[in-house]
């Protein structure tokens, strides 16, 4: 009888707490979004599964000595996983469109307003009883950069307790870019503006593409060393892609390595989706702020493009400003799609890739600034 009781006490059924059940359902929800709705499946599948694993009673996945505990501390607490992902993203990024039309960098810069404006929002939530410090607010605000690895990197440094909610918010909104952005883009532009056709981009030479990442790194070293972990890994990946002599490394960085790291990153983030860290009012606040950050970033990019049209002779289609919120290449595709609705012969995809990759650099720089000033 005693051993039967002992056996019962070691079952999941006897040890379940309500919070764990709810978080497992959240994990299942993430799996549903990934599998049935195709929302960022590469990350949400391991993240959702990680959320289920970490909430299993008795098994102790996230306690000292557990698998997810090791994965989290080895890869996310140290910042290694997001940085490796950033290297892979660098290896996948073609800066050609940006180099051909450098003024699109201004659009990428303007879209970062979403990050800094959200800082206010996070602090303002203290009025309704939430307790966000400046570090918390900075980590939440970076969701506006629409860049998963950057958000995870910054959150792991500034507010590890909020990491789960921030990562879920960042990736959810990145998946929702095609739903969030178009209404804002249409509201802020006229039909004529959406029809603007842009001049064909010039050819960018190989030498330019090789020197560009080195130049970016050099500038980051001079002006913002705090951003060099992110920018440095990004530039390394990009240099491997463009130099043409290490195709094997470039291929590994953008395929096998990034895939392996994504599995562990997802599991590690999932391990932070425990009931005590996720089921609170702060998570709701973070989800709300994430949407605000995205929307403000999109609006700022579009308005900057309109401002540039007032000043410069060569017109830009303001829709590409919305692509300034990184989320590569989804945001560029959205700009292209909304442009095609207004003018079926106007392919904006390549033009939108300029502000899109500028947004990646912009959010890395913004993360560096937050790290330097708040961290």
């Amino acid at each position: 009888m005693e051993s039967l009781k002992l056996l019962w006490m070691s079952t999941g059924l006897a040890n379940f707490e309500l919070g764990q059940v709810i978080m497992m359902l959240v994990g299942c929800g993430l799996l549903y979004l990934a599998i049935a709705r195709n929302f960022e499946p590469l990350l949400l599948v391991p993240m959702g599964f990680g959320a289920i694993l970490t909430n299993i009673p008795v098994a102790g996945f996230s306690e000292a000595g557990g698998l997810l505990h090791f994965i989290y501390y080895a890869g996310i607490d140290t910042g290694i996983f997001p940085l490796l992902i950033f290297m892979g993203v660098g290896a996948m990024t073609d800066f050609g469109a940006l180099i051909a039309n450098p003024k699109t960098l201004l659009l990428g810069a303007a879209a970062q307003f979403g990050i800094f404006a959200t800082l206010f929002g996070a602090i303002a939530l203290n009025f309704v009883g939430l307790d966000f410090s400046m570090k918390d607010a900075s980590a939440i605000a970076i969701i506006g950069g629409a860049d998963g690895p950057t958000a995870i990197f910054l959150a792991s440094k500034l507010a590890p307790d909020l990491l789960g909610a921030i990562a879920v918010a960042a990736y959810s909104y990145m998946a929702l870019v095609p739903i969030i952005q178009p209404p804002i883009m249409r509201a802020l532009t006229t039909e004529d503006e959406r029809k603007i056709e842009m001049a064909q981009l010039r050819h960018v030479t190989k030498v330019e593409k090789i020197i560009f990442p080195l130049g970016v790194l050099m500038m980051t070293i001079f002006f913002l060393p705090a951003a060099t972990p992110l920018v440095g890994m990004f530039c390394l990946g990009n240099l491997m892609r463009e130099c043409g002599v290490v195709d094997r490394l470039s291929s590994t960085a953008q395929n096998e390595l990034i895939n392996i790291v994504t599995i562990f990153l997802g599991l590690g983030v999932g391990s932070k989706l425990s009931a005590d860290q996720f089921l609170n009012a702060k998570t709701l606040g973070i989800l709300a702020l994430g949407a605000v950050a995205f929307s403000i970033g999109t609006a700022a990019g579009v308005l900057m493009a309109k401002l540039m049209n007032k000043v410069a002779k060569e017109k830009v289609n303001p829709l590409i400003g919305a692509a300034g919120v990184s989320a590569v290449p989804m945001a560029a595709r959205v700009a292209n799609k909304v442009g095609l609705e207004a003018n079926p012969h106007n392919f904006l995809l390549m033009h939108a890739m300029g502000p899109n990759v500028a947004g990646v650099l912009g959010s890395a720089v913004a993360a560096g600034i937050l790290l330097a000033l708040v961290g």
């Binding site: 307003f113 800094f116 800082l119 303002a124 400046m134 030498v207 130049g215 500028a358 600034i369």
Partner: protein, 90 residues
């Protein structure tokens, strides 16, 4: 309340310095592209341009029977892109 006010002032300062810095940094990058990269591009043009010229010569020699691989690649990528766009619209 006073503490909150201080946090707001801090957030405002951070926003201002942050945006100024992001614009300055990316603005400097524009200068870098326009000054350094454009000059480099003129000094060291891509080998492809030369090979195109040479392939033209080759084509002439062969009475235009063969099409250069660069042209084939350009056309096939354009077709692929068009098809992708087309299917995405559907």
């Amino acid at each position: 309340m006073e503490n909150l006010q201080q946090l707001f002032i801090e957030a405002g300062t951070l926003m201002l310095t942050g945006m100024v810095f992001v614009f300055t940094f990316l603005g400097l990058l524009i200068v870098f592209i326009n000054v350094v990269l454009v000059k480099l591009a003129k000094k060291y043009p891509d080998a492809i341009v030369e090979s195109r010229a040479s392939s033209k010569r080759n084509n002439n020699k062969q009475d235009g029977k063969s099409v250069s691989p660069a042209v084939v690649a350009a056309i096939s990528s354009a077709v692929k892109q068009y098809r992708q766009q087309h299917s995405a619209q559907k």
